[in-house]
Symmetry: C2
Subunit: 101 residues, 2 copies
C-alpha cells in the first residue's frame, strides 16, 4: 500500500520511490532496496503497476513505474482496509479503559 500510495501522485522509478517514502513519512519508513524492488516486481506481476525503461537527464537507465487502473482500485481498497484495520486496533487498545466503571 505504501508503494502504491507513493506512485499515486506521479510515476517514479525505484530509487525515487524509496526517497519519497522516506521523505513523506518523516524518516519513519526508510525501506531498503531489498524490500522495495521485490515489491515492485510483485506489484507488476499482479498487474497493479506497469513499467518502462527511461534515461535520466544525465543518461542513467531507470525503470519507471506507474499505477494501472487495477493499481488505483487496489490502493483504494487497501485504504479502506487500512481504516478498518487501524480502527479495530484502536478499539482493542482503548477498550479496557472504557470498561472501568
Amino acid at each position: 500500500m505504501i508503494v502504491l500510495a507513493a506512485l499515486e501522485a506521479a510515476p517514479a522509478h525505484g530509487y525515487a520511490i524509496i526517497e519519497e517514502i522516506r521523505r513523506r513519512s518523516g524518516g519513519a519508513f526508510d525501506l531498503p532496496e531489498g524490500t522495495v524492488y521485490p515489491v515492485l516486481h510483485r506489484l507488476e506481476t499482479s498487474q497493479l503497476l506497469s513499467s518502462h525503461w527511461e534515461k535520466s537527464p544525465i543518461g542513467r537507465r531507470r525503470r519507471v513505474y506507474a499505477l494501472t487502473k487495477h493499481g488505483s482500485a487496489s490502493l483504494a481498497a487497501r485504504r479502506t482496509s487500512w481504516v478498518q484495520f487501524s480502527s479495530a486496533i484502536e478499539a482493542l487498545l482503548t477498550e479496557p479503559k472504557l470498561c472501568r466503571t
Copy 2:
C-alpha cells in the same frame, strides 16, 4: 500487541483471549487458534506473560496467562510504536492531496 492488550484488563486463558479479541474488534480480528497459541508461547518465552494451569468451573483444565511487568512495559512501548507507525502511514496516504496547489 493485540494479545498483550487483551490481557491488560485481567488474566485470561487462550480460548477466552480469542473471544475477547473478536468481541473488542467487532469481529475484525477473528484469530484462529493456530495463530494465538504460538503467540502466547512466544510471549511467555520472552517473559512478557506468565501462565499457570487452572480448572474451569466445570472442571476443564485451562492455562491462564497474565501480563508480567515486562509485558506491561512492552505493551506500553508497542502502543507508542503503533501511534508512530499509524501516523506515518496516515502521512503517506494523505500527503498527495496536500501537494496539489
